[in-house]
């Protein structure tokens, strides 16, 4: 029995959720299960999905880089749900499992990643393991690779996804495809 029973899709208000359910099926991060769980709290299904979609699928920072970061964070959070999901858009852009694995491993010594990508991966790595190292000097280095809006995009993306991964971890759910 699920800790939180997902609301059946046919019981979700189509006016609020139809487009979001379609976007979820199109991107698969999150899948519709996330909406079905968050929709228990009025307004949350819409707001949290929108923020998740905006921060991951839209914006100026490379979506495939954010996808690697997202999987890395899910593993840190020990969240099986988000850790198993894969962005269809990132796959279509050419992101492979091998590159995701490389990004989740010792990326600093891996020449397939540019210095900008290494900084972004390190940003995600340090944020919840050694946040004191994410200091003014660290941000100064980041500004040589990314604009301030892009750094805000990355930071908000990392914070938002990691926070919800921690919550989803406790619910012990799996992606719909794997459940």
């Amino acid at each position: 029995m699920a800790i939180i029973d997902p609301i059946p899709v046919d019981q979700l208000d189509p006016e609020k959720f139809q487009t979001r359910l379609e976007l979820a099926q199109e991107l698969m991060v999150p899948d519709t299960l996330f909406i079905q769980i968050m929709a228990h709290a009025p307004g949350y299904g819409e707001a949290l999905f929108d923020a998740m979609y905006q921060s991951h699928a839209l914006g100026n920072v490379d979506h495939t880089l954010k996808e690697i970061i997202r999987v890395r964070l899910a593993r840190l959070a020990k969240d099986d749900y988000f850790g198993a999901l894969r962005s269809k858009k990132a796959q279509e852009l050419g992101l492979t499992e091998a590159r995701i694995e490389a990004g989740c491993g010792d990326f600093a010594a891996d020449n397939q990643f540019s210095d900008a990508e290494k900084w972004a991966l390190n940003y995600a790595k340090l944020m919840y393991t050694e946040p004191k190292k994410v200091n003014a000097e660290f941000y100064d280095l980041g500004k040589t690779f990314f604009s301030e809006p892009e750094i805000m995009e990355l930071g908000a993306f990392i914070a938002f996804h990691y926070g919800l991964q921690i919550f989803m971890r406790t619910l012990k759910v799996l992606p719909l495809d794997a459940a």
């Binding site: 800790i3 939180i4 228990h40 949350y44 949290l48 200091n135 908000a156 914070a159 938002f160 406790t170």
Partner: protein, 92 residues
């Protein structure tokens, strides 16, 4: 959730359901997760609140002096520092 998420298991949620509705549990869980993520990130940005505990608009330098370099209770110095500074300005 922040310090020992393994303890938040099915039994924990069953106990929670005695006190809160499913709607409220999802609301609480998402709220807590969101805050875990954002507090750490915001901490790296080095921002301080725009207002003192007694409601004065201050610059970042003064706010840093009032609130200190790590989050603590407002009653452990921040209130006093904000009030002292306010009294000094009034005297001038």
């Amino acid at each position: 959730m922040d310090t020992d998420p393994d303890l938040i298991d099915e039994a924990f949620y069953n106990e929670l359901k005695e006190h809160y509705s499913t709607e409220e549990i999802v609301e609480l869980g998402a709220f807590i997760g969101f805050n875990i993520g954002y507090h750490t990130w915001f901490g790296t940005l080095g921002f301080y609140p725009m207002f003192t505990p007694d409601g004065r608009l201050v610059d970042q330098e003064e706010s840093a002096r009032i609130y200190g370099d790590k989050p603590i209770s407002h009653t452990k110095g921040a209130m006093q520092r904000a009030t002292e500074n306010n009294s000094d300005e009034a005297a001038e």
